[in-house]
Symmetry: C2
Subunit: 219 residues, 2 copies
């Protein structure tokens, strides 16, 4: 059976892929509005981990609506949610037996209700799977630590390879850089480099280098 | 890392074990009130599948309360829920890094809220994992079909190796056989015999033999 998993290159969606790979032929699918080529980071991680990789194109109108919604709200939650549901619809239209994402038990967003899941499955004739829906933060951290080599840092420094990065770009283009700072609270992002080394030392998690002095405007 | 998974010998908890086994040393744990030895079916399946097996003893008072609750309600949901939460507490007191169960996305019962999960984790210093929380009926059926050899039949004929069987026994002892029929709607149960044959034919799912004529009172 084939499954397409919405993939950002971060630890959650990578772990979700590892949970599925014994049971499905997993293709990592990065959704893009075609605004930036951040998806290339995801492609590289997918290759490093040995997974098939595809991109799926999202509707630019949805990006516009999501950005407007974020600016209105002053926070990104509802806009991200809109885009995630759209990305799931697009993935469900592809030729997979199952579509999946990296949402965890403790995520507030995106959040797909049982009714939304059932509707997606019925309309597209696919199974919708959330491998980490029953894993809390502690379990995810333990598994990532044992399994993956991860770079961690503030979100503006870590190449997050999905639509979130593009939404930030669009937000900056249409509403100015200060809108990005207003809408997106600073948070920590992860980028998966590959598998953890088999010797099991704790060097698997690196901090991203902070901006050096002399580059205060580094993007 | 070690995990203890509440195990009934059915398809859901067996599939949950297979999802975890790449990441944890999984012990299958069957909870028992010591009323019956139905757990022995689970032990045999665990052995067939190559998993470690343990039983954990539940408090008889909890069984009594649950049975009274079921009779009052006229349906088993709340009683089962009480017993399941108690079984999770007992499993969390064991020496595992993580405890888990076979609950699926579409199950109405047992149902452990996010707050209950977090509380269990905080009080016992364990992770609580629900490997099938993000899998709907369709995905579970596909995976079981590809992976396991299963016997299916009405619940009174299938040896369900966990506390549900004991609760039925207690209910019959204390309130008569007719109380069991009143409280438990007839439903289909599964019993895992082992792995599906590698040749992938569809003989993996058997119907349990119906009671033969001449044995109308077969239990």
């Amino acid at each position: 059976m084939d499954s397409g998993l919405l993939y950002s290159g971060g630890k959650d969606s990578t772990l979700a892929a590892l949970l599925l790979e014994d049971f499905y032929d997993v293709t990592l699918v990065t959704a893009t509005f075609g605004v930036a080529d951040a998806w290339d980071h995801a492609r590289r991680t997918a290759e490093e981990l040995g997974f098939d990789f595809e991109t799926v194109e999202l509707d630019r109108d949805v990006a516009g609506e999501a950005v407007n919604r974020m600016v209105e709200d002053g926070y990104p939650r509802n806009g991200i949610q809109q885009v995630h549901l759209h990305a799931l619809e697009r993935a469900a239209e592809m030729e997979f037996d199952a579509v999946a994402d990296g949402t965890r038990r403790d995520d507030r967003v995106p959040s797909v209700s049982r009714a939304q899941a059932q509707s997606l499955e019925d309309r597209h004739g696919v199974d919708y799977i959330v491998p980490l829906a029953g894993f809390g933060r502690g379990a995810v951290d333990s598994l990532v630590n044992e399994t993956l080599a991860v770079t961690t840092g503030p979100s503006e420094q870590i190449p997050k390879a999905d639509y979130e990065d593009e939404l930030r770009n669009l937000l900056a283009d249409e509403h100015g850089e200060e809108a990005v700072a207003e809408v997106f609270p600073e948070h920590t992002q992860t980028y998966v480099r590959g598998f953890a080394r088999a010797d099991g030392d704790d060097a698997a998690t690196d901090e991203a280098p902070r901006a050096e002095s002399g580059t205060p405007d580094a993007k």
